[in-house]
Amino acid sequence: MITLDSVSFSYAGAAAPSLRDVSLSFEEGELVLVVGRTGSGKSTLLGTLNGLVPHFTGGHLSGEVRVAGVSTRHRPPRELANLVGVVGQDPLAGFVTDTVEEELAYGMEQLGVAPAVMRRRVEDTLDLLGIADLRRRPLRALSGGQQQRVAIASVLTTHPEVLVLDEPTSALDPTAAEEVLATLARLVHDLGKTIVVAEHRMERVVPFADRIAYVVGDGSVEVGEPAEILRRTPIAPPLVELGRLAGWDPLPLSVRDARRHPPPRFDALPTAPAPKRVDKPSNRGGGGGGGGLTARGVVVRYGARVAVRGVDLALSSGEVTALMGRNGSGKSSLLWALQGSGPRQGGSVDAAGADPRDLSRADARRRVGLVPQSASDLLYLESVAAECVAGDEDAGAATGTCRALLEDLTPGVDDALHPRDLSEGQKLALVLAVQLAAAPAVMLLDEPTRGLDYTGKEVLARMVSRLATDGHAVVVATHDVEFVATVADRVVVMAEGEIVSDGPTADVLTASPAFAPQVAKVLGPPWLTVAQVRDALTSEVSP
């Protein structure tokens, strides 16, 4: 169905080619999962499949890409629209019309499909993706998951031979991502289309992937059976890491696999992991005195809608608190209210003896810092160095503070780079450094894990632990259970603006299957992370 014949591609002005002599072929009806680090060339590989690379992006492509026997060499993407359907990361950015039904018809209108056929296909596709009840809704009023399902539906109506999805869930929250991935699973089983998907939530796609294409990062691409490729990729879901650790063969690809065939090596595991290191905060470098924050009866409402309903929350320094709960449960509103920038209609917040709402913005951020969901909104200059200098000025800190903090968080970021050219993880580190320059005792992070791959999350986890050992009180609002299992000391779960559960990480996470990390699902509580298992195994061997 798809063949790449010694394809090389380099962007104009790039030092090294993004793809180097890639030859592969994907069969009809196959689901291929494309994996690789952020920036390794996954998107480039996917772009070659419908001619966006190089017709839209520019650059030089040699070799031959054929889709269903048609070469992309002399055909721009629009001439391949009947063969390849492409779904991008941000569904809203790709919508042309403004209601669901019109969006579904758009591609067919361009191809000149007969009106009667169009009408029929729209109805069929609405049912196939379970979005018939949304048909007349404005696209902007849909939730993220619904939008992405509409985006998938809108390329399916043209009946393409190949469906290409480039990280369809990276801009979505986990609930929405689940929705989309469930839809994808359904398409694979019901339609048998050839699907090529890049996805960083690998654990959700691996169980039904036929093959994996691993984009190494040096321009080469390795294609093989999932179990075989996953054995050596640097990025892997916790389950695969656990499997590698235990020398499991074949590698378990789903929790079900793992539970059905437990490896003998885990018999040696003790009943519980060693208690977490209790190194008391040294309070070096940390914030201005006392630390911590106490909030009582916080109420946030937008008109008639109550976002936060009288929440009491105490944060102590050196502790990492994870704030969890579905979208719209009031997490962001609570964080903004604690920082003092957001609205707050009732209750009190005490950060080191003062209410941040009553202080000037500059004073408030010396007590409570917040990194918002779209962190890059804070950046507006042309280079990392300029951002750091401006960060020092804004915070009134000594020159070089921000730069030193950045070096501390992620070493080796090039000063001259434009902030837009940084990886998501580095961008986050830069924003964090800018906020930390004001030396707040409390640091709030709103959805920092969104769009990060496993490597990015590891780096973030290190940064967060670092903040805690430095004596900051840290709050991380996130949906990512695995991340919470790694970094958090305490978990607070919110629903409908109220706190529904609050306790140590191990207790809260293992209390319900929805929140249990993969390791807990396989080994049972109180095991949470691969690192715990690794530590336990090594101490077994050498006590």
Partner: protein
């Protein structure tokens, strides 16, 4: 009986039908300054809008047009007071006149205010206000995006561009708000140009990113697939369209201005429409594109459009027979008369309130909160 019930099944009328109706009423309003008639026209438009609008955002904007119309009347009358309303003999009140330097000769500030000049301002303002309300009515009743979609396929590209541009504004407003909040978090106290930059740069980056993504998405979905038109064909259809549209403009202008030769009115309008149609058909023939569920022109649309045209025709006809009644005299003050013929003519404009299918409602509700596992 079944055909009758099918006729009244809720659906959205072809947007062009509403526009023809509204423009008919506006044309009628342009031919008279009789306050009673104008008030009746406004009442007719309001009644039909209330009876047949949907609950979409554009439908709710009708109130804004009413406010705008009221403002126009107030301004017109206000100007007459400020810039001298001395014409005519019935002076109502004499305000102290502000003496102006010699170079401003001919302009008078305040002074005597006569009833004639006030009435003149009121009639004039009311006429303009009525036309604004008519346009507002069309905007409230017809989905603007469907109107763009109903354009000839030769104008399809333009229509798409307009739709895309329209959807940019709410997005821009959203990003500006987000970035401003983020700036407060950073404690950025810069003012003036620096502050502007801290907002404008992230917002523009966002907008550029989006437009690139949109362009690539449209390209991937087949937008602009090659048509088979030669340069000559394009030139011919383009010229025809432009010439035709000029003819339409000339025709419309002369229709509304009663003083110009009649041969430049109706005939020019019709000729313009024909020429433009030929151009559109020529251009449309090379487009290999189809349309999903186009709005169709059915009996209800015909009824609506004709009721608007009828109002215009009656007023144009009576303006020849009995001009005095349509434009009350300002030299001899008298209570304006209302004749039966134009009144009945205007009331024909009410028919769409009963003789059209009701709009589809209840589909613009707020999104349901997503439920999570």
């Amino acid at each position: 009986m079944t055909t009758l019930s099918a006729y009244f099944l809720p659906r959205d009328l072809h947007p062009a039908a509403w526009w023809v109706w509204a423009l008919g009423l506006a044309t009628a309003a342009s031919r008279t300054t009789n306050p009673w008639l104008l008030a009746v026209v406004i009442a007719v438009v309001c009644f039909v809008v209330v009876a047949r609008r949907s609950d979409a955002p554009w439908a709710m904007a009708f109130r804004m047009y009413l406010w705008l119309a009221a403002l126009v009347v107030v301004l017109r009358v206000g100007f007459r007071i400020v810039f001298g309303g001395g014409e005519g003999g019935t002076v109502l009140v004499t305000l102290p006149e502000i003496p102006l330097p010699a170079w401003a000769a001919g302009i008078r500030l305040f002074g005597a205010v006569s009833a004639e000049s006030l009435l003149g301002g009121l009639y004039d303002g009311l006429r303009l206000a009525t036309m604004i309300v008519c346009i507002g009515g069309a905007n409230a009743l017809a989905n603007p995006k469907r109107l763009l979609a109903a354009m000839p396929s030769a104008l399809y590209e333009v229509g798409t561009a307009v739709v895309v541009a329209l959807s940019v504004f709410p997005q821009l407003a959203e990003s500006v708000q987000r970035v401003r909040r983020a700036r407060a978090l950073r404690g950025n106290r810069a003012k003036g140009r620096k502050a502007l930059r801290a907002i404008v740069i992230p917002v523009l980056e966002d907008a550029l990113d989006r437009s690139l993504q949109l362009a690539s998405s449209m390209d991937s979905r087949g937008y602009g697939r090659a048509g088979a038109a030669t340069v000559q064909e394009r030139l011919a259809s383009g010229t025809l369209m432009v010439v035709g549209l000029i003819g339409v403009c000339v025709g419309v202008y002369n229709m509304l201005d009663g003083t110009t030769p009649r041969v430049l009115a109706g005939p020019a309008l019709i000729a313009g429409i024909v020429v433009a149609m030929v151009g559109f058909t020529l251009a449309g023939r090379r487009v290999a594109r189809t349309r999903y569920r186009p709005d169709r022109w059915r009996l209800a649309e015909v009824v609506t459009a004709f009721s608007g045209i009828a109002v215009a025709v009656v007023l144009l006809a009576t303006s020849r027979v009995d001009p005095a009644n349509l434009n009350p005299s300002l030299t001899t003050l008298s209570w304006p008369q209302l004749a039966w013929a134009p009144l009945c003519g205007v009331l024909v404009g009410l028919t769409p309130a009963w003789l059209t299918p009701p709009p589809v409602v209840g589909e613009n509700e707020t999104p349901l909160q997503e439920t999570a596992a």
